[in-house]
């Protein structure tokens, strides 16, 4: 009978109720009759039945929240802490500045290497508004406590489980409390807390509470010690942070890895996303049971007033019409509507044509920000981004955004061409069998697990990429060096489980994703065709140049070696140039300077320079360039020059070299950083020499 503990609280309660209500005739259950020794009376059973606290439930079912294995648990803890930090900052209108620090905690006195370690301390610091002292314990040590559940407004967190669950997991695996430092402003004092959760009661236990000195003027710092496993690669903390930085280019993210490295994800977009509004539920998204509850809870005294004030998009006039259609007097008291009358009312509402919910509750990332995020983190030749107009599923408004980064960076393109080895029969150029990578987001949070269960992934598969000049085998991802970005912003993202790993497969959502992907694909197709056209012209000219040599040699041999070779060659070359259209080809090859046509919100990187949203790209470069230098200055008092040199001498790795390189580039990019450039220039300025160098050597994400 202990199985009841594993049920969810609500079902457990109802089962308890039904079993209590029904007298169980012992003889009617033959199995029990066979084993009379195990008979239990209803009274005895009743004595065992008791309430289960949410915390107890989730302690046993931690996999539901994403703590299935140590590696995932580590990621989930980081994710919950960062999500909270970003939500808080954005809500307070502060450009987020978040530091994530992973430290190895020794269990037996010696510090194991990062890959062997089993215990970590996660510290996440933000520059957000801080938390008032009284709320700190409950926010961090009580499940299902928060500000985000009872409202319809887009945010990363939804239920109020996340951070307290992370704390509970830490407590469970290491026995250590969660430590919090929070300060609401430079004038306020910083409070230090150590809290644990009383799993039986789902209430916080405060271990320590004092005022301390803190160097930060404002913000919150959470530290949790957990059992975990640090492993790079797919679905790692590193990948998650990198993807977070792509979808949140307005965030400055600093990441101190357990290996002692510091990674900087600079801010490349300097505007906060518009703050989403809170909305009332849309009538289409309400189930009947919920509707009954709303009838009871409303503050209005009349049904028409209730409809008009408790829902969005129901003006008083429409409310009256609905009442009329349902044959309910508009002045009836909502609390008195019950049973069939309420149901007719509910049906009439569903039948009435009601405007789609307002969309100012959403805060999409925006095409420019997606572009800058992709451009910053992913190497490629072509970038594009599409934001769909808002749509509605089950009464919840949502926006789908898609982005795409394609190709190898120009500096990588030339590499494999070097070894021109003669090929034997049957030998081919090694084909790139690389498949596209899909990065998925829900309300700006990267989703790393359960890719194949996710609506976004299914939409990517069902898009016919072949139409856009990309290879795709049946039922597989498209091939080629490509990253596909899909973001769903909604007041309520329908996840398939509490651990928020995959978006459920609603038709409306899938349709929107497909439309966004198609638009991305269309632009990619345009780009590829344009590139192909240039390449084929180039090949045309090249072919003739290659073959002329062969033909001349063969003719010479046929003529017994008595041929004026150079003359024949020159003659043939002259014909070749005239046949391949001379200067026109130069144009097709992009040597003249026409911008990308029909490619809005895209960036094209060629060896010659950047096209499209040039100013955006330049700004990203300037930011990426400036960032490491800045942190070096903050890090210690040494002047930059000497420090980079010192680092180089020690050959301390990539970062030192980059820092130096970048500093030079930042200076080169100065002309692009003009303060008030037009938003989208019709014709991008002629890419100059500095462009070329930049695109050739700028450091980008590690991908």
């Amino acid at each position: 009978m202990s199985k009841k503990h594993s049920m969810s609280p609500s079902t457990a309660a109802t089962t308890a109720a039904t079993t209590a209500a029904k007298p169980v005739p012992e003889s009617s259950v033959p199995k029990k009759a066979a084993k009379p020794a195990q008979q239990v009376t209803a009274v005895e059973m009743g004595a065992r039945q008791r309430e289960i606290s949410v915390s107890e439930f989730f302690t046993k079912n931690r996999h539901l929240l994403g703590f299935d294995n140590p590696r995932k648990a580590l990621l989930t803890c980081v994710k919950e802490a960062v999500d909270n930090a970003l939500d808080a900052c954005e809500e307070a209108g502060i450009l987020p500045d978040v530091t994530v620090r992973l430290e190895i905690v020794s269990t037996n006195g010696t510090l194991p290497p990062a890959s062997q370690a089993t215990r970590f301390r996660i510290t996440v610091t933000d520059n957000g508004p801080g938390i008032v002292r009284q709320q700190i314990p409950r926010i961090f040590a009580k499940l299902l406590y928060g500000s985000k559940f009872h409202r319809l407004r887009m945010s990363r967190g939804q239920q109020g489980i996340g951070i307290s669950a992370a704390g509970m997991y830490g407590q469970l695996t290491t026995g250590k409390p969660v430590t919090i430092i929070s300060r609401t402003g430079p004038r306020a004092a910083a409070h230090f807390f150590e809290v644990q959760i009383d799993t039986k009661k789902n209430e916080p236990l405060v271990h320590e509470n004092k005022q301390i000195e803190w160097e930060q003027p404002q913000g919150t710092q959470v530290a949790i010690e957990v059992e975990g496993k640090y492993q790079k690669g797919r679905a790692s903390v590193d990948e998650w942070l990198e993807q977070t930085s792509i979808a949140n280019p307005h965030v400055k993210l600093t990441y101190c890895t357990p290996e002692g490295e510091t990674k900087e994800y600079p801010r490349t977009y300097h505007e906060l996303p518009p703050s989403p509004r809170e909305i009332k539920p849309h009538p289409y998204g309400i189930e009947f049971g919920m509707f009954l509850k709303m009838l009871q809870d409303t503050k209005s005294h009349a049904v028409s007033g209730f409809l008009a004030s408790d829902f969005c998009r129901v003006p008083p006039q429409l409310a009256d019409e609905i009442c009329k259609a349902a044959k309910v007097p508009p002045h009836a008291k909502p609390r008195e509507l019950k049973g069939p009358i309420a149901e007719t009312l509910y049906r009439r509402i569903q039948d009435t044509k009601i405007m789609a919910p307002p969309t100012n509750c959403l805060s999409p990332i925006g095409e420019k920000a997606i572009l800058s995020g992709l451009y910053k983190q992913i190497k490629g030749e072509f970038y594009t981004a599409v934001s769909r107009p808002p749509a509605v599923y089950r009464g919840n408004p949502f926006v789908i955004e898609a982005g795409l980064a394609y190709g190898a960076a120009p500096q990588d393109q030339n590499k494999p061409r070097q070894p021109a080895m003669p090929k034997a029969e049957g030998e081919r150029d090694e084909e790139d069998s690389e498949l596209a990578r899909v990065i998925r987001y829900a309300n700006r949070v990267p989703l790393l697990y359960q890719q194949s269960a996710c609506s976004t992934f299914k939409a990517v598969l069902s898009t016919t990429w072949k139409n856009y000049g990309v290879t795709q085998s049946r039922g597989a991802l498209p091939g080629g060096p490509m990253v596909i970005f899909v973001h769903m912003a909604s007041v309520w993202v329908p996840f398939t489980s509490e651990s928020k790993e995959a978006i459920a497969d609603y038709d409306e959502i899938q349709k929107e994703i497909t439309l966004a992907l198609r638009e991305c694909g269309r632009r990619l197709g345009l780009f590829l065709r344009r590139r192909e056209r240039a390449a084929s012209e180039f090949r045309r000219r090249n072919i003739f140049e290659l073959y002329i040599e062969e033909v001349v040699e063969a003719c010479n041999r046929l003529k017994g070696g008595k041929l004026p070779k150079e003359k024949l060659k020159a003659q043939l070359q002259k014909i070749a140039t005239s046949r391949t259209g001379g200067l026109k080809t130069d144009e097709a090859l992009g040597k003249t300077n026409a911008g990308p046509e029909g490619l809005p919100h895209s960036i094209i990187v060629t060896e010659e320079g950047i096209e499209g949203e040039v100013d955006l790209a330049a700004r990203v470069q300037a930011d990426t360039a400036a960032a490491p230098v800045e942190t070096n200055l903050l890090g210690d008092e040494q002047p930059v020059e000497t420090q980079t040199k010192a680092q180089e001498k020690k050959s301390a790795g990539v970062k030192g070299r980059d820092a130096k390189l970048l500093k030079g580039e930042a200076a080169q990019l100065a002309p692009f950083k003009g303060p008030d450039r037009p938003d989208k220039p019709k014709k991008p300025s002629r890419p100059n020499k500095s462009d070329k160098r930049v695109s050739g050597s700028r450091p980008r994400g590690k991908k």
């Binding site: 003669p422 003739f544 290659l546 033909v551 063969a554 046929l558």
Partner: protein
Amino acid sequence: MAAKQRKTTTVEKKLIGVADVVITAAERSKDPTIEIPIRALSNVSFNARKGLIEMGSKKQARSFFNVGMAKKFMQTVLVADALSELQRAELTTSLREIYYRTKHTIQDSHENTFDTQDESDPVIEDLEVSLSALREELHVRAENSGSIVGPVVFGDDGDRVDCAKLGKGGYSVPSIVEPEYLEIRRCTADFVLLVEKGTQWNRLSEDKFWRRYNCVLLTGNGQPPRGVRRLARRLHEEYRLPVYVLVDNDPWGYYIYSVIKQGSINLAFESQRMAIPKAKFIGLSSADPERYELPRNVGIKLNDKDIARAKELMNYEWFKKPAWQAEIKRMLTSGLKYELDALANKDFQYLTKKYLPRKLKEKDWLD
């Protein structure tokens, strides 16, 4: 060069002509173009009077400054060069050797002039047709994949080869059998029997069928190579020997017969000296299984390809004779094909002892 004193042959002159095309065109700033007669069904016609397939006059221009043809053009010039090298050195070679000779990586690239032999073979055929030079004249030989046995004496490189004294293995027919290479000194046979399959030729040779019926046994192991076809034609022409063709009863067997009789579509330009319009189809006919009481279970079901091919054959001009239409239709209605080997079902020597004697006695053949 040592070859300088040697007189250039006509073929060599024709090959050099390819280089001249390029040079003249270059001087006039024109696109160098070689005209190549089309080798396809669309460009052949059946000359009913002569009983030959003849090549039409349709030509295809292969020009250098055309992206689609540039490589082919370059390859053609390269092959012409290799062929003229053969002429100068007075050597013969195989198709495969030409492929290797002309294959190299183009300078400053990783592109090969030829990737497979499939690219070089058609180019050689193109040159054959456009220069109207025979493959033998180009000094390109095929595999020796034919055998002959019977009362015939050849002179080959000064050696006397008596095909009646070569046991059951016979003489391997060289790929070039023109009089200057192979001399027919004596032939006392009454007819030529051309067998599709080596296995059945072996059966006949082992049973000394040729001795009893005084004939020449020839085989080409499948589609007979040029050497075998040309030799049969010479025996037919020079010694007035009738030629009988013995093939499997399937569309491919019919086509082998038709190639021997009227020439092939691909090499229609050579029909003149290869085809034997008077050749007769002796078997296996689709009427034979009934007549010779072959059980149905030794037949093989026609597959889709067979059926498609048979229908194609029925549309060829040279299969329009009523007897042939009936023959092919009969096969299609029965839905079965029979191999020559199936005759062994009755007796190992059924072919030698019963089948062929009866056929010859009854003069049961198709024209």
